[in-house]
């Protein structure tokens, strides 16, 4: 009671590294919501038939329940907000497709949120005719040497097709190679 569980939820979230998420703790979340309902019931029972102006014991008791509900709300909102921020950053750092381990940590509505966010970014980029997610760090060279780590197959880049077999080396444009590098399928070959 009194927002201790909600604080535990946030502890879990803040103990993770920057940019990582713990799995969505639906159980605790629901427990906090049930606590709020309990506070609300107590509040109703203290307020019933009482004159709001008199500052008696019931008034202070109901006030404490009211504050607890507000506090729980703040904790839950901060939990969702922080997770939403990290999910947004996944689009920029990881790409359009999330690996299995990350998807397992999100609940259903968070996965929907990710899809919608990707859709918004994509329609914006289509209007600009510019891919904003490549080159997050300004590159020194438009071309890059890469080594393919896992089998990708035939990919058409620009006007020609490249066969990306495992352990092959290629000299590609940076914008073409970046999506593969961020998914971990290729690595930059540094002499």
């Amino acid at each position: 009671m009194y927002a201790r569980r909600a604080a535990q939820l946030l502890q879990e979230l803040s103990s993770c590294e920057e940019g990582q998420l713990p799995p969505y703790n639906g159980d605790k979340f629901d427990q906090v919501i049930r606590e709020c309902e309990e506070h609300s019931r107590q509040f109703q029972s203290l307020i019933r038939d009482k004159d709001i102006e008199t500052k008696n014991e019931d008034h202070y008791g109901s006030f404490i329940h009211h504050l607890s509900i507000i506090r729980n709300k703040r904790c839950l909102m901060a939990y969702m907000y922080k997770r939403a921020e990290v999910i947004q950053s996944y689009r920029w750092n990881v790409g359009r497709v999330l690996p299995r381990e990350i998807q397992d940590k999100l609940n259903f509505s968070e996965q929907e949120y990710f899809k919608d966010y990707c859709g918004v970014i994509d329609s914006y980029m289509k209007d600009l005719d510019l891919d904003l997610t490549v080159d997050m760090v300004p590159p020194k060279d438009p071309y890059i040497r890469v080594r393919v780590l896992s089998e990708i197959g035939e990919v058409s880049l620009g006007d020609h097709a490249v066969s990306l077999t495992k352990d092959s080396f290629h000299f590609l444009r940076r914008t073409d190679a970046e999506p593969f590098i961020s998914q971990g399928l290729m690595e930059e070959f540094v002499e």
Binding site: M1, Y2, L10, F63, K140
Partner: protein, 187 residues
């Protein structure tokens, strides 16, 4: 000022403070483990989380007693050697908590005490952060409060960036002439 969604602010407000109730409160017996009825008596001394104590104090329903982290023993410890005081494990939100507590409690000495503690610890922290390497976590870091730790990390990462900048590759052509190489000790 920390925002509504700021997680470290929310966690900081969860710190417990001891309060004395000026009024009774019904229906909240869970706050006081010693009570038999479902209410808190006037004059009861209870530990409340700071967010609750703060609001009740504003409405003059309780008065907050100064917690031990700003008490006499702490002041003596700081006088002896500020840098050795273990804020990281005991009071990670020392400074923020003090700043929020200060207007609610009548003690005017908290402000200067916070500043004095910080100033004394800062010197040691500055020198350690510039010499610490990236991987090892010196034991002394565990003694820092959350805000001090952020400063420490900022100094450490800027030092690492500086070292990287010093050895940066300027993209010059490598020649085959091997001249007299000057050894630079940068690690």
């Amino acid at each position: 000022m920390p925002g509504y969604y700021d997680i470290s602010d929310i966690l900081m407000e969860d710190e417990a403070v001891s309060v004395v109730f000026h009024v009774g409160a019904n229906g909240v017996g869970l706050l006081d483990p010693g009570t038999e009825t479902n209410s808190v008596e006037k004059g009861a001394k209870i530990d409340l989380p700071f967010w609750l104590a703060h609001e009740l104090c504003r409405r003059r329903a309780v008065s907050i007693t100064i917690p031990s982290c700003f008490g006499q023993k702490m002041k003596k410890d700081v006088q002896a050697d500020a840098a050795c005081v273990d804020l990281g494990t005991r009071y990670p939100y020392f400074y923020e908590f003090g700043c929020k507590l200060f207007p609610l409690v009548g003690d005017k000495s908290i402000g200067p005490f916070l500043r004095h503690t910080f100033a004394n610890r800062y010197k040691e922290m500055l020198s350690k952060s510039h010499t610490a390497s990236l991987n090892a976590i010196p034991k002394f870091v565990l003694r820092l409060s959350k805000e001090e730790y952020q400063l420490f990390e900022a100094a450490r990462s800027s030092m690492v960036e500086f070292k990287k900048w010093r050895v940066r590759d300027l993209g010059l052509m490598k020649t085959t002439i091997v001249g007299h190489k000057r050894k630079t000790d940068l690690h």
